[in-house]
């Protein structure tokens, strides 16, 4: 047979193509299950299964490395909970037996002995044996449930995922891209989950101009699904030259914080798939520490983030902030945290510690607590740039206009540069189906390094902003004036002048047509 001629059977090569269809067929199987409703349920399910397979692939590899180096290997998971024990065999445990093993607190395990069920076991893991990964695993699984009702369908999904080789870097790269597109689809599927997802072009732009250097530490205190951290990881990855550089990137560069279990899981997976071996994501609320107790040791060099807007935090959280700075608006609490978290001394790259933050319009014009925070921002920090984004960039999550604040530790502020991001020609706003594109930031990036005032960019002295009670909501002075604000005489004159020009043009057209009739 022809197939024989190809030689010994190597593991089937998975291309971007086959990975894509593999994920697709896994999703199709999940669609048949009665317990799952929409992508919001399917993606977490797919993720935890992938997570366990990923873990086992990694452990197998480490075990091999350890045995070559004649070192003792301590696995994070014990038998019979490892993927290879219960999932790897496509004919293995299935149906109700499989559901019982996964869901129940105590059950008959696939190897015939009695013991805790899979999730119960995973949730009870602790790092007592000195392995931090066990904490991560426990946190991840405390936040997820198995929603699938059919053990047979679940077995089919597991068998699909078994076809992915998480140790191949090429496959990881592809999976990372696939996973990102799944996250985006999840946002499209349910309005609410948009809060976990910042449009990728905005993230890329913020990371590109903040330009973290290798050796600097990068934090996103509201990680969501990890978009900023992935982008920062890629940005830093391009600077890696040596093995030591690689180690710096992997171990000492990125950290995040995400208190909600679902995005926490998705964020872990997203970073793992993009090649970060041990993502350092804090599963607690970033606002739970007393602001005044954050010292130089907890500070970082670069913060890029899109904090939640408008959400209400419990009273206890507000108590962590100075009395005259307490508010229910989460964006403002996060802004204070970010200011506090920036390192005071220049970073290892000799640059001031810096931040890029997405804020709603309300933050720019707010008074009271908001104004006090902005005063500090102007007096203690260098708030050098505000990029004003048009409506709909965050659709469908919110349609309100948003702004990107860029500030650093080289304060106080002299001038604030404003840049008004224009909508593409002929468009009234961005929508879910026609979102913002990264290429649209090209003009702003070019302007970033060679700043001049133009019809989109203008400069306001900090003294002027401080004098106006820190109202940062400044309109573009060169913006085309709304015609309705012109005097009526001027409008009438303008109409008359244009109608006369139309009449002249009609005269010319008439002549042109007459010429052809003669010729």
């Amino acid at each position: 047979m022809r197939r024989r001629a190809k030689g010994p059977t190597a593991p089937a090569p998975t291309t971007a193509q086959s990975l894509g269809s593999l994920i697709k067929s896994a999703r199709d199987i999940m669609r048949k299950d009665k317990g799952l409703n929409g992508d919001l349920d399917r993606l977490p399910l797919l993720t935890w299964i992938m997570f366990l397979k990923f873990l086992d692939d990694l452990e197998l590899q480490r075990e091999e490395e350890a045995s070559l180096a004649r070192k003792k290997f301590r696995p994070a998971l014990e038998a019979p909970y490892r993927w290879r024990d219960w999932a790897a065999n496509p004919q293995g445990v299935t149906g109700d037996e499989l559901l019982a093993f996964i869901n129940q607190d105590e059950t008959v395990r696939p190897d015939g002995t009695r013991g805790p069920g899979l999730f119960a076991y995973l949730r009870a893991l602790t790092s007592a044996n000195g392995d931090d990964r066990r904490d991560v695993i426990a946190t991840v699984f405390r936040g997820v449930d198995n929603r699938m009702k059919s053990g047979y369908l679940l077995r089919d999904v597991i068998n699909k995922i078994a076809g992915i080789h998480f140790t191949s870097s090429e496959e990881l790269h592809t999976l990372g891209a696939l996973y990102e597109s799944l996250l985006r689809e999840m946002r499209d599927a349910a309005g609410d989950s948009g809060e976990f997802y910042t449009p990728r072009p905005v993230v890329r732009f913020m990371v590109a101009v903040t330009d973290p250097r290798l050796g600097e530490t990068v934090l996103d205190p509201a990680s969501g699904t990890g978009g900023f951290l992935v982008e920062a990881f890629n940005h830093l990855g391009a600077q890696v030259k040596t093995v030591a550089d690689r180690a710096t990137l992997q171990r000492r560069s990125l950290s995040g914080c995400e208190p909600k279990p679902l995005p926490y899981l998705l964020c872990q997976m997203n970073l793992l798939l993009h090649g970060l071996d041990a993502p350092e994501i804090d599963p607690g609320n970033a606002l739970r520490h007393k602001l005044s107790e954050i010292g130089e040791k907890e500070r970082v060099d670069v913060i890029v983030t899109n904090p939640p807007f408008g959400g209400e935090e419990e009273k206890g959280v507000q108590g962590n902030f100075p009395e005259d700075r307490q508010t229910a608006e989460t964006a403002l609490l996060f802004l204070q945290l970010i200011m506090r978290k920036l390192r005071r001394r220049p970073t290892s790259a000799g640059l001031p510690a810096r931040a890029a933050v997405v804020v709603p319009n309300g933050t720019l014009f707010g008074d009271g607590v908001c104004a006090r925070i902005k005063e500090e921002l102007l007096k203690e920090f260098n708030l050098h740039t505000i990029v004003r984004l048009p409506n709909g960039v965050f659709a469908p999550y919110t349609s309100i206009p948003t702004n990107l604040l860029f500030f650093d530790r080289s304060g106080p502020t002299q001038d604030v540069w404003y840049y008004e991001h224009p909508l593409p020609e002929g468009r009234k706003n961005y929508t879910k189906t026609t979102p913002i594109q990264f290429e649209e930031f090209t003009a702003c990036q070019a302007w970033w390094t060679h700043r001049k005032e133009n019809e989109r960019a203008w400069k306001v002295p900090a003294t002027e902003l401080l004098a106006s009670n820190c109202n940062l909501d400044r309109k573009n002075p060169r913006a085309k004036e709304d015609i309705a604000h012109l005097p009526p005489e001027q409008i009438a004159a303008s109409i008359l002048e244009k109608e006369q020009r139309i009449a002249e043009i009609m005269g010319r057209i008439q002549k042109l047509l007459a010429r052809s009739a003669e010729s």
Partner: protein, 395 residues
């Protein structure tokens, strides 16, 4: 002078090119949109390969004739512009290569916009089957003069098209300006009011009574009392279409039945519409919904029509924009904020005089708008007429 040009089938100058590529998940692709009614091809979007589910696609080349299988009968075709070279389309589109030794791109591009061509496409197949086949396209006829003549015709059309385009753009602008003329007049009357020494007050000083509408569930049962909702306020007037109804108790009637001269202000809407208002003057019982605030002004001192015109003017809009509350979603203006609106009103006779002046202006503006609408429609037919002439060989 009329020239006789040979007519040939498109099959003699076009070749159906059917080549597919496989979409790579990690590449970003651009996709074109073929606008209906032969309005040309524009960029639709850029998408990563992972999001394209159909992995077999065709690559467009500049200058090719692109036809949408399903939309062709409504003018879903065009010539691919240079900027869209390399965009991808699905198998539901047909791409045709031009024989540029015989046919000029621009000549085809204009020809496909003519009625003569559109009619050929629409005539194909049964009326109930929308799609067309590549063979149909190759069967359409095109008048085909020598290349030099084609270029001359294209140049002539371009000359005229540019003029027509400029006229359309200007007309579009004048239409917008006409639209705001009266509102701008209102703004300036009130802006000058201070110069004239009108006493500066707030709207609240003239309001006798204000209240929010009913939040009871309304129905289509027309035996009840019609309830005005925010959609019934259109451009400063009440639009009495699309009404909902409600049965009111005697107690509620006193509060919720509108009187002539009541001003209805929209308190919750999108940021650019919040605060729009209209005066109620219908001789029939009407109530109103909770997203509206009813203001009853002292008609001895304030003319409701003028007050409403002021609220709807750019000055009033600017006030709403600065006072609205909005974190996410809808913008809000409450009754307190509304009553704090600064307003300077002259004496009642003077108010009447201003209103009649505004009415006179409105009449002229309406007349102008009617003529503009007619000429705009005529302008739109000018290019097709020119094209028709051109392809008869008379241009």
């Amino acid at each position: 002078m009329k020239r006789e040009w040979p007519k040939v089938r498109l099959g003699e100058v076009l070749r159906h090119r059917k080549e597919f590529v496989t979409i790579d998940d990690l590449t970003t692709y651009r996709r074109p949109r073929v606008q209906l009614h032969a309005q040309g091809i524009v960029l639709r979007d850029e998408v990563p390969g992972t999001l394209i589910k159909t992995k077999q696609q065709q690559v467009c080349r500049a200058g090719e004739f692109l036809v949408a299988e399903i939309d062709a009968k409504v003018g879903g075709f065009g010539v691919v512009p240079e900027a869209l070279d390399g965009t991808i389309v699905s198998s539901h589109y047909f791409l045709f290569d031009l024989d540029e030794a015989k046919l000029e791109r621009g000549f085809l591009d204009y020809f496909i916009r003519t009625l003569a061509f559109r009619e050929q496409v629409e005539a194909q197949g049964s009326t109930n089957y929308a799609a067309i086949r590549p063979a149909d396209v190759l069967g359409y006829e095109i008048p085909l003069p020598p290349l030099a003549e084609q270029r001359r015709v294209v140049a002539r059309i371009e000359e005229l098209a540019a003029q027509i385009h400029e006229a359309c753009t200007l007309r579009h602008q004048t239409a917008e300006e006409t639209e705001v003329l009266v509102a701008s007049k209102v703004s300036h009357i009130f802006g000058n009011g201070q110069v004239e020494g009108w006493p500066g007050r707030t709207l609240g000083d003239y309001v006798l009574d204000d209240c929010y509408g009913t939040s009871e569930k309304t129905s289509d049962d027309s035996t009840g009392i019609p309830v005005l909702r925010m959609g019934n306020i259109q451009n400063g007037h009440l639009d009495l279409h699309d009404l909902k109804f409600l049965h009111l108790s005697e107690k509620e009637r006193a509060k919720l039945i509108l009187k002539q001269g009541d001003i209805l202000v929209n308190r919750t809407n999108s940021a650019d519409l919040v605060g729009k208002c209209a005066v109620f003057h219908v001789d029939r019982d009407f109530s109103f919904a909770s997203y509206l605030i009813r203001l009853r002004v002292d008609q001895e001192r304030a003319h409701p029509e003028l007050v409403a015109a002021y609220i709807n003017s750019p000055l009033g809009r600017a006030y709403m924009l600065s006072e609205k509350r909005q974190m996410t979603g809808q913008a809000n203006v409450n009754a307190t904020k509304l009553k704090a609106l600064p307003i300077a009103l002259p004496s009642l006779p003077e108010q009447r005089r201003i209103l009649s002046e505004l009415d006179a202006l409105q009449v002229q503006v309406d007349a102008m708008r009617r003529v503009q609408t007619e000429t705009t429609a005529e302008l739109a037919t000018l290019l097709p007429a020119v094209l028709d002439r051109a392809f008869k060989g008379e241009l």
